[in-house]
Point group: C2
């Protein structure tokens, strides 16, 4: 029988929250939910849950909606590795479970297989409902998991000494050098002159 | 008179959503809300809003709650620069507004000043309500902004060719080399043997 909840949340509610937060109904966030449920169940209850996402695409938003870990509270870290995988771990005990989408598990699930293998090219997509039904029927068949240990928590707990940049006067972490990264030339923007 | 809304959201509702999502009432997310409101107002309405946060701390969660831009949908980018600043921009026109907390604007706001200057050391914090009242009274006095242009959208729109790693069999972006980053040695975890 098709599952009705993911991480204790009613699937229909999760899909609505997905649209509100993420902007659209994302197959990756649905599979992400299955991965998070699998990992956290295997890890067991902990008040010290942290998550590492190994891709910037979709998966971080599943973590942010289904766990207490967000980007801004520091309990979710994201690596731009392009791997559809995540690790849930206890930041106190430093043990965790890494969960990943297993390509071998996609046989028999043609819509998921097609979704996962596409390289981002725009082509006709199946209706979300059809893909979702496949995901919910497949559940844990899609994924593999393994117990892991982290050498240290990825969240830096030490205070970061800050000061004011002598060039732009803004506050920055002193470990970056005598001026902030922007004033060292790492800018992503150009000033519009005469438009303060 | 003290403001009652931030980015069109009732302040009391925003604080509740902050606790639910971020886990606690964050002065940084309140100031972040003022910054986002200032930047988006100056930028003007656009269906193509993107945001760059220049710190990983708190500010990204303000963006995710108050704009359609999230980490997982790719419309919010985060730089680990340790600067309490963000840029809202139109990803189509590539013009934007950079907004930052201006240390010179903190005079006359002792609680905000103390919050901003602390280096993360644990010490007695003022009640959130007192700090929040100062932030809401200060509003745009706390920040500076400037029009900027981006040379290009930070979100990569091109398809990323992927393949299967010959070592771990997982999918990864081929541009990273003949094997995935984890199999190249960039691991943050140790395998627990005998625990597949």
């Amino acid at each position: 029988m098709q599952r009705k909840t993911i991480c204790g949340v009613d699937v229909a509610s999760y899909v609505i929250r997905m649209e509100e937060f993420h902007g659209y109904r994302s197959p990756g966030m649905l599979i992400g939910g299955v991965m998070i449920e699998n990992g956290t169940t295997r890890l067991g209850p902990t008040p010290y849950l942290n998550v590492v996402c190994e891709t910037v695409v979709c998966l971080p938003d599943a973590v942010q909606l289904l766990t207490p870990c967000t980007f801004g509270n520091g309990f979710m870290q994201v690596l731009d590795w392009g791997k559809f995988a995540l690790t849930v771990y206890d930041r106190d005990r430093l043990d965790g479970v890494r969960v990943w989408l297993n390509p071998d598990g996609l046989n028999g699930y043609p819509l998921i297989s097609d979704w996962f293998r596409r390289t981002g090219a725009i082509r006709e997509k199946p209706p979300f409902e059809d893909l979702a039904a496949e995901v919910l029927a497949a559940g844990s068949n899609l994924i593999s998991s393994r117990r892991v240990r982290l050498p240290r928590s990825l969240k830096d707990k030490n205070p970061v000494p800050t000061g004011f940049c002598p060039e732009c006067s803004e506050s920055y972490p002193l470990r970056q050098g005598p001026s902030c990264l922007a004033c060292q030339g790492h800018v992503y923007y150009e000033m519009q002159e005469g438009s303060l």
